[in-house]
Amino acid sequence: MAVQPAMPRSWRRETKPHKFCPGCGHGIALRVLGQAIDQLNIQDRMVFGCDIGCSLLAWDFFNVDTVQTHHGRTTPVIVGLKRARPELVCVAYMGDGGGYAIGAQHLVSAAMRNDRITVILINNTQYAMTGGQMAPTTLPGQKTETSPYGRDPDMTGHPTQGPEMVATITPESAYVARGTISRPKQLHKMVTRALENQIAGRGFSFVEILATCPTNWRTNAKNTWKFIEETMPTHFKVGELKVPEAFQAAAGGEGARADG
């Protein structure tokens, strides 16, 4: 075999290049997820659910059983599936619009019930697929198609602190973190833990991922990095918010090191 790209085994090569735009953070997030799947060896007992929003472009992304659902409804589909077949490892993958706006009741309800699923939510500060409207995560002053003069927090609120909310409403056995595609190693640890926590039957596992959307941010590569590495973290604190004891015990002093 000739030299081949270093794609995770669980990626479906026939559908690559994938359908995301140039520079899209979804690609990195899904590489990290793919690596975690490989590492945990769960490709053949996984279900990947993607939402409407750019996440739907991943409907044939993995060599993993995949269901592309409705806008905001991936959480309930995956909850229904997981409860029917608890032996499967079930991931609900969605955008900030799907998770924090139209699907907020599903997210908070699944979190409060401590459903044993893994929710991965892509925070790109707006509705990407529909062309860049305001999202609950849009930053104060940020211009979008529906906040053309900049988001006014007095009228439309401050950016959603999703993981913070989820951490408040879940029990101790839940795992909650916020990662960023600009720190893939740290993100890898978070995604892995979010899967392990589900596999162990412990509880609801949630990772918000700060991700790039050069298309709707209308940024070149330089400003794309600047926005995700400098601007976004001033509103969204990256790190683990809730880590079940089991991890802390197992990891020992590793926590700090893995924070690559």
Partner: protein, 91 residues
């Protein structure tokens, strides 16, 4: 499943491989290379935009950052093993 076409360069510390059929020309790698050794290539990527290539080849330290930030797995960086390193150095 067809293999991806590739362009391979042997650099100081390792091999640098680009798969133009995967590169969308986003430029994220160019910006992130700590050694600023990547630039636009004559080859067109998948969306008809220029792909990238190592231009300051000497500077590349095969750190792999470029491949880690590529959303499309278009870059493969392989460091030479001890054997290969030695061979290189002998030349």
């Amino acid at each position: 499943m067809a293999d991806f076409e590739y362009q391979q360069k042997e650099l100081k510390r390792g091999t640098f491989t680009l798969f133009p059929g995967l590169c969308k020309g986003c430029g994220l790698c160019i910006e992130k290379c700590p050694k600023k050794c990547l630039g636009w290539s004559e080859t067109l990527g998948v969306y008809g935009m220029p792909a990238i290539e190592p231009i300051n080849k000497e500077d590349c330290i095969s750190c792999g950052v470029c491949s880690t930030v590529c959303p499309d797995c278009a870059i493969l960086v392989e460091r030479y093993g001890k054997e290969e390193k030695k061979k290189k150095e002998e030349h």
